[in-house]
Symmetry: C2
Subunit: 168 residues, 2 copies
């Protein structure tokens, strides 16, 4: 089953057969090391485990069969914190600036509400990732926390990270 | 090797042989479900994996061979976030109010500095856990974030959780 999310893109659940497409998007982002807290030399297998493993539900944004982006959704905590979800988003370099991340976020919020989550939390938004922050803010996310110097950016050195949150 | 931390307590690295002692402290805390984001019916094995697994370094506070508390320390994130550590602390019911948590926190901050960490972050301090919050604040931790309604307390319903942070 798939959902028509926006004119440019279909967002659908990801399958094992999508691993190559997802890795092709993740690899340059992880190698650059500016937005996600993973080792820059992470292996393909470890990266796919990071993105699709555990309790992650994974989706893919496609246009004409080309993967434009992916996101995962999972509980941010277990037990008494399991009504708040966490998501990760990644957009293919060639598809940036076309609304793919915003469409995926809209899809994720619908998925989250349908799953019974009451809020969505991003635990670590690097403060230099201004494009993502603008998108999250535009969709109602508030910066509820600041972690001083919590990210060591290859390009900028130690920079702050934000916790962003919204009820659903 | 062990460290004499305070008159009442020795804090030392934990070993596999300490699993029973650690579980004896964790079980009532996890079953009560008021402070940690774990399922209240978590199994012994899953609880010990939660406490001692992955990259956790685990310590034990003892008095006369009786385990009074335990803490773990680990990187809070990988990659660009690995210079910030995370810790979890638990005190035996019978040992509360005797400074065990404060002694363990002091030990943890020393361990963290010796390991090269630049900051310590607590990701999810339940707002009703006022005893812990007072101890963390007393040791220089700032509340840098508030997560509205992020914890479903068995006793209080939906309550806020805090992110607490300090540089080392």
């Amino acid at each position: 089953m798939s959902w028509l999310q926006a004119p440019f893109s279909v967002i659908r659940p990801a399958h094992d057969a999508d691993d190559d497409a997802i890795w092709a998007i993740l690899e340059p982002v992880f190698r650059e090391g500016e937005t996600y807290c993973v080792a820059r030399d992470i292996s393909r297998d470890a990266a796919l485990e990071y993105w699709t493993g555990g309790s992650h539900e994974v989706f893919l944004a496609e246009k004409n069969g080309i993967c434009q982006g992916s996101y995962f959704i999972c509980p941010n905590q277990e037990g008494g914190g399991s009504h708040v979800c966490n998501c990760g988003f990644v957009t293919a370099a060639a598809a940036r600036g076309k609304g793919v991340a915003r469409a995926m976020l809209g899809h994720a919020m619908t998925t989250a509400r349908n799953s019974g989550y009451r809020a969505m939390q991003f635990n670590f938004v690097v403060s230099t990732n201004t494009r993502a922050i603008a998108i999250w803010q535009g969709q109602g996310f508030a910066t509820v926390g600041r972690l001083a110097g919590a990210f060591n950016s290859p390009r900028h050195g130690f920079v702050d990270a934000f916790i962003m949150y919204r009820t659903l």
